[in-house]
Amino acid sequence: MTGYIIRRLGQAIVVVLGVTMIAFFLEHLLPGGIARAIIGSRATPQQIALFNKANGLDSPVWYQYWVFLGHLVHGNLGFSYKQNRSVNSIIANDLPRDLMLVGTSLVLAVLIAVPVGVVQAVKRNRGWDYAGTAVSFVLYSMPSYALGLILIGLVAIKFRIFPAIAPQGASVGAMLAHPSGLVLPIATLTLVTYALFSRYMRSAAIDSLAQDYIRTARAKGLSEKLVLWRHVLRNSLVPVTTLVGLSLPAVLTAGLVIEQLFNFQGLGLEYFTAATTYDFPVMVGITLLVGLATVVGNLLADLTYAILDPRVRY
C-alpha cells in the first residue's frame, strides 16, 4: 500500500510539472511576441524592449521557465498584464466563489444521483427507470450552456422566479446575501454534474444488488428497506469517490461556461476574460490551478478507493 501511494505521488508530481510546462510554453508560441499583443500593434521597438525588460521576457525562454518555477515554489504566480493586481490576489478573490459553486453543485449532484441510481436499479427496465435514463441522456447530450439557457428562458424570463444573473457581491458573504441569484447557476451545474454521475450510479447499484451479501442480508430476514439503505446504498457510495475525483475536469469546464452565462465572477469567467485580453499570467495561473485540481482529484480518487474498498490491493 505504502509503495503504491509513493508511486502514485511520484506520477502526480511528474504530471504537475508537465502541466507547468504546457501552461508556460503555450504563451510563448504567440506570433509576434507577448509584448505586441499587450501594448498594441503600434508599439515602438523601445516600448517593446521596455515591456520585455519589465516583465522578464528579455532572457532566454528556458531561463524564464526556471525563474517561473522558482516563483511557483514560493507560491508566486506573477502579476496580471491588464488588471493592476497580482495573480495570487485574483485567485484568492475568485477561488472561494468557485468552491461555493462547484462544491455545492457536486454535493447536490451526489445527493440526487445516488438515491436515484438505487431506485433505478431496483425498478430496472420499468417505466421509472426508462424515464430516469432518458432524462440523464438528454441532460448529458446538452452543452452546459444550453441547459442554462433553457432554465433562464423558463425560470427567469417566463415565470420570473429567480434572476438570470448571479449576485455580483465582492465576497462570498456578499453573494450569499442574495441567495436567489445563486439558484440558477448552481441548479444548472448540479444538473450537468448529475447527468455525468447518473449513468455510473445506476450500474454501480445494479452491481451491488447482484452481490452475495445482498442475498445473505435478504436471507437473514432483513426488510427490503434495510437491505437497500444499509447494503445497496452504502456500497454504491464507493464508486462515488472515484467519480467525483475523475469528473473534476468536466465539472470545471461546465463551470467555466456557466460562469460566463450567468456572469458569475469566478475563475472560469476570469479565465475567459483573460483569454480575450491576452492576460497571460492570469491564464497560466488558472490553467495551473485547474490542472492541479484535476491531478489531486485523480490522486484522491485512487487513494480513497484503495482505502474504502479492502478488496482493492496494489
Partner: protein, 314 residues
C-alpha cells in the same frame, strides 16, 4: 508470413470462437453464428435506440447537405431590414439578428458541425489508437513515458486548453479539426493501451513473434484489428463529444470567424434575445445540437452492447 494470412480477419476470429465453444460444451448443438461483424450487426439492429440514432443521424445529414438544394437562402450577406422576423411563409423558422434565415442557417451550420465532428473523431481515433497500441505493446519505460504525457494533457480540460491555444492562433476549418483532434486523442490512446496490454500476451501474438514478425506487423495487423470493437465504440462517442466541445467553443466565441455559420454561434447570438421572446433564434439550434449528440450516444451505447454480446452469447 503467408502461412497465416487471415489470422486477424473476422472469419478467423469467429472460427476460433466456434471451436472454443465446441470444446466447452462437450458436444451439443453448435449453430452457425456468422462472422463477428455479422453477429454485431444483428445485435445492433435489434436495438431500437440504435435504429432511432441511425435514423436521426441520416435525417440530419440529409437536412444539412441536401436541404440547401431545395431551400435556397443567402447565408453570407446580412440584411438588417429583415432582422429578428418571427417564423412566416417566407422564413419558415424566422430570421436572426443579421437577417439570416434560421432554417437555412441551421443547414449550413450543421454541415460544419457534422464535418468537423466526424473529421475530429476519425483523426483523434487514428492518433490515439496508434499511440496507445505502441505504448501498450512496448511497455516498460516507453509505456510509462508515453502515458505520463497523456496524463499531462488530460490534466487540463480540453476547453481550457483550446481557449488558451485560440488566443495564439486564429483557426481555419482545418486548423480547428487538427487542434480538436490534437486534444481529443487521449481517451482512445488510454483505452487502446489497456486493450493492448492484454492482447500482447495472447498466443497468436506470440506466434507471430516466433515466426519473426516485426513489431510493426504485430501492432498493425494483429493488435489493432483485435481491439476494433473498443475502437469503433470510442470513435462513435468521439463524434458526439467533438460536436459538444465544438458547440461550447462556438458559444464562447472561440471558433471560425463570421460569417461562418454554426449551431453554437446561433445559440450564443440568439440567447441575447431570449428575454425579447425570440424563441426561434434559440430553440431550433438547441434542439439540433441535442438531437445529433443524443443520436451518436445512442449508436455508441448500442455498439458497445453489440460488441459485448460477442463475448457474452458464447
Amino acid at each position: 508470413m503467408a502461412l497465416l494470412p487471415a489470422a486477424t480477419s473476422p472469419e478467423w476470429d469467429a472460427l476460433a470462437t466456434r471451436e472454443r465453444a465446441d470444446e466447452d460444451s462437450e458436444g451439443g448443438e453448435v449453430y452457425q453464428q456468422g462472422t463477428v461483424f455479422q453477429l454485431v450487426f444483428r445485435t445492433f439492429t435489434k436495438n431500437k435506440l440504435a435504429i432511432i440514432g441511425v435514423v436521426i443521424v441520416c435525417l440530419l445529414v440529409l437536412f444539412c447537405f441536401v436541404g440547401p438544394l431545395f431551400y435556397h437562402t443567402d447565408q453570407v450577406d446580412t440584411n438588417i431590414m429583415q432582422s429578428n422576423n418571427p417564423p412566416s411563409g417566407a422564413n419558415l423558422l424566422g430570421t436572426d439578428n443579421n437577417g439570416f434565415d434560421i432554417l437555412g442557417r441551421l443547414m449550413v451550420g450543421g454541415q460544419s458541425s457534422i464535418e468537423i465532428g466526424l473529421s475530429v473523431a476519425i483523426l483523434a481515433t487514428f492518433l490515439g489508437v496508434v499511440y496507445g497500441a505502441v505504448a501498450g505493446y512496448f511497455g516498460k519505460v516507453v509505456d510509462t513515458v508515453m502515458m505520463r504525457i497523456v496524463d499531462i494533457f488530460l490534466a487540463i480540460p480540453v476547453v481550457f486548453l483550446f481557449i488558451f491555444v485560440s488566443t495564439i492562433i486564429t483557426p481555419t476549418t482545418w486548423l480547428l479539426i487538427l487542434l480538436l483532434a490534437g486534444l481529443s486523442w487521449l481517451a482512445p490512446a488510454r483505452l487502446v493501451r489497456g486493450e493492448t496490454l492484454s492482447l500482447r500476451t495472447r498466443e497468436y501474438v506470440k506466434a507471430v513473434k516466433v515466426m519473426g514478425g516485426k513489431s510493426r506487423r504485430v501492432v498493425f495487423r494483429h493488435i489493432i484489428p483485435n481491439a476494433i470493437g473498443t475502437i469503433i465504440v470510442n470513435a462513435t462517442f468521439q463524434v458526439a463529444d467533438a460536436i459538444l466541445v465544438l458547440a461550447v467553443l462556438q458559444y464562447l466565441g472561440f471558433s471560425l470567424p463570421f460569417p461562418h455559420a454554426s449551431w453554437g454561434e446561433m445559440l450564443s447570438q440568439g440567447s441575447t434575445f431570449l428575454s425579447d421572446g425570440y424563441w426561434w433564434e434559440v430553440y431550433p439550434a438547441l434542439i439540433a445540437i441535442i438531437l445529433i449528440v443524443v443520436a451518436f450516444n445512442f449508436i455508441g451505447d448500442a455498439l458497445r452492447d453489440s460488441f459485448e454480446v460477442r463475448l457474452q452469447e458464447r
